[in-house]
């Protein structure tokens, strides 16, 4: 019995090792993720008892949510070429379904989140049909309209959706009472990290599977894809559904994490976040948007709001840390522009290319040594 278990474990480890350790870029990603997970444990006092630790954990949870959200956009836009500019639709539906079901039926999260995903996927299939009739910029325009339409509908049924106030006081992720808010946030951090790990592995697997090949064939040339006997309509809808699934997962989690939903979840900025994050990180890679989400969320919520403002306030360039606020968006967008100009194919692609070059050089060295 124990032998079986050990042999199974050994096989699992060797398959894991061959998948992760042999590819330098993956090893790097794995190590980063590991570091990310143990980070709160390196200084538990700070993260469990201080307000600042609480704040930083919050940023990381939001980054996790955005990472799932951006990766879901990438499989649709980066892999099949359907540049949706209304992805907030799925995010918002996931969030609002959770909120409305809790408000009226007090259903627990493990029921509402799957329902939210289901609703979102069905909407994706519905929305997909008109979207498939149009291509390129026209598709982007059509998708742009859908979250706005939903916002209108939400305002029409204010008693259900709460109108501009939204719905608040939703249950927390870990509802067991004796925990402090810091501990709850730590739990949310680990839970969202788990969700991110699982979703990104699934998305990456899909993107690199046979279905992923068909997706890219549609991105490159739809007519040729049809000439290869592929029912492109079916696969586009599939891409929409997969994308909606993970976007709504992110939305549903965000709703329960922030314990409230609001109309801002359907706003244009919400639709553009995944686009910016994906392009900055590397479109079509799946891991790119995840890194992009982390870079931008940390830049936005920590570097600009805390580090830079405090430093400027200390050196008396500005009077109070809050005075940087008007400059915030200008600096943020400038940084995005600099990133995109410096690495137009994405930050991650640049790193992966460099790592591959190093690996190649190392292999060449080895061959030379053997010849000697």
């Amino acid at each position: 019995m124990t032998e079986m278990v050990t042999s199974l474990l050994r096989r699992a480890y060797s398959s894991f090792a061959s998948h992760i350790f042999d590819v330098p870029a993956r090893l790097l990603a794995f190590l980063l993720f590991l570091l990310f997970l143990v980070m709160p444990l390196t200084n538990p006092g700070y993260f469990i008892y201080t307000g600042e630790g609480y704040y930083i954990l919050g940023i990381l949870v939001v980054a996790n949510i955005y990472a799932i959200y951006a990766a879901s956009w990438d499989i649709l836009a980066g892999r099949t070429g359907q540049l949706s500019l209304g992805h907030a639709l799925f995010y918002g539906i996931g969030a609002y379904t959770v909120a409305i079901l809790y408000k009226f039926y007090a259903l627990p999260l493990w029921v509402t989140i799957p329902i939210g995903i289901l609703v979102s996927v069905s909407v994706a299939l519905l929305v997909g049909f008109p979207c498939l009739r149009v291509k390129g910029p026209y598709l982007s325009l059509v998708t742009l309209a859908f979250p706005l339409i939903l916002t209108g509908i939400f305002f029409m049924f204010k008693d259900v959706t709460g109108g501009e106030l939204g719905i608040s006081s939703l249950p927390a992720i870990i509802p067991v009472p004796p925990y402090t808010i810091n501990q709850q946030r730590l739990a949310a951090f680990y839970f969202s990290s788990l969700l991110l790990a699982v979703s990104s592995v699934i998305l990456y697997k899909i993107a690199n599977s046979k279905i992923g090949i068909i997706f890219v064939s549609m991105l490159d040339d739809e007519v040729a894809s049809k000439a290869s006997g592929i029912n492109t309509t079916k696969y586009k809808l599939l891409a929409f559904a997969i994308s909606a699934l993970f976007a709504s997962l992110a939305g549903a989690f965000a709703a329960s994490y922030e314990s409230s939903v609001g109309i801002s979840m359907l706003a244009l900025t919400m639709s553009f976040y995944p686009v910016i994050m994906t392009i900055l990180g590397g479109i079509g890679t799946i891991y790119g948007p995840i890194i992009g989400a982390f870079i931008l969320t940390i830049l936005d919520r920590y570097v600009l709001k805390v580090v830079v403002s405090d430093a400027l306030a200390h050196t008396h360039i500005i009077e109070r840390a809050e005075d940087l606020a008007p400059w915030h968006m200008i600096i943020y967008t400038s940084v995005v522009i600099i990133f995109v100009l410096a690495w137009p194919r994405g930050v991650t692609r640049f790193v992966v290319d460099k790592l591959e070059d190093l690996e190649e050089a190392r292999e060449l060295e080895e061959i030379k040594k053997k010849k000697k």
């Binding site: 068909i214 890219v216 490159d220 049809k226 290869s228 006997g229």
Partner: protein, 243 residues
């Protein structure tokens, strides 16, 4: 019963009649040539048969079944596959994945059992056109001639009952043309039925037994290469009017 029966096919683009009342048949196992000057409607005719365009009138019957106006992927799955005059590779995908897309359509899913994976099939097809070494290269790194062959591998991977080749020799140097002529001959021996559109009459006439000549969307002649070469109308179209 003929394998492909095209009857009175007509397609208009506004005031221009690109294909006008064209009828012809293709029998199993034969190679048919489709020639005509630029703008004669050859590619349009291919687009009509393969479902990329819908005809204004007329019917296309394949194996006795009416396939007129069906979506192109459905027609492919019935057994008609085609190549494009202007190459349309999937540039982001490696060569082998380009061919694999064809192996993943419903038609091939039925044909490929667990004994033969789509990967294996794709590799076999690449070997047939001599691209094995390029299997893992992204299509964007391949030369024009290689891409032409990749296109044919992609069409052949569908194990079609009828193969429509749209100017397979265009942009190829003499060596590549020779190589392709040989592979088309081999495909013919394997029992493939083909319709070939071509401008390089020299290469085409060596391959085909029957030629159909189009001019301004109308069929003006049909017959063996020798007959067609003597046909007055054809000579007028190609050489100009004899005064």
């Amino acid at each position: 019963m003929h394998l492909l029966e095209v009857e009175n096919l007509t397609k208009r683009f506004g005031g221009l009649t690109a294909v006008n009342n064209v009828s012809f048949n293709v029998d199993e196992g034969e190679i048919t040539g489709l020639i005509g000057p630029n703008g004669a409607g050859k590619t349009t005719l291919f687009n009509l048969i393969s479902g990329i365009l819908k005809p204004d009138s007329g019917t296309v019957k394949f194996k006795g079944e009416n396939v007129t106006g069906l979506e192109s992927h459905k027609i492919v799955n019935k057994g008609i596959s085609r190549t494009f005059q202007v190459i349309r590779p999937f540039r982001h995908l490696p060569a082998i994945a380009n061919v694999m897309v064809s192996c993943l359509c419903p038609r091939m899913k039925k044909k490929l059992t667990w004994l033969k994976s789509p990967e294996r099939k794709a590799l076999d097809m690449l070997e047939d056109v001599g691209l094995t070494e390029m299997a893992l290269e992204p299509a964007s790194n391949l030369s024009h001639g290689d891409l032409k062959r990749l296109e044919i591998a992609r069409a052949l991977a569908l194990e079609p009952d009828l193969l429509l080749l749209d100017e397979p020799f265009s942009g190829m140097n003499p060596i590549e043309t020779d190589y392709l002529t040989k592979s088309i001959r081999r495909m013919h021996l394997d029992g493939h039925t083909m319709v070939i559109v071509e401008h390089k009459l020299h290469a085409l006439m060596k391959l085909v037994k029957r030629v159909i000549v189009l001019h301004y969307g109308e069929k003006i002649a049909e017959g063996s290469p020798k007959e067609v070469a003597k046909n007055k109308k054809v000579l007028e179209v190609y050489m100009g009017r004899v005064i």
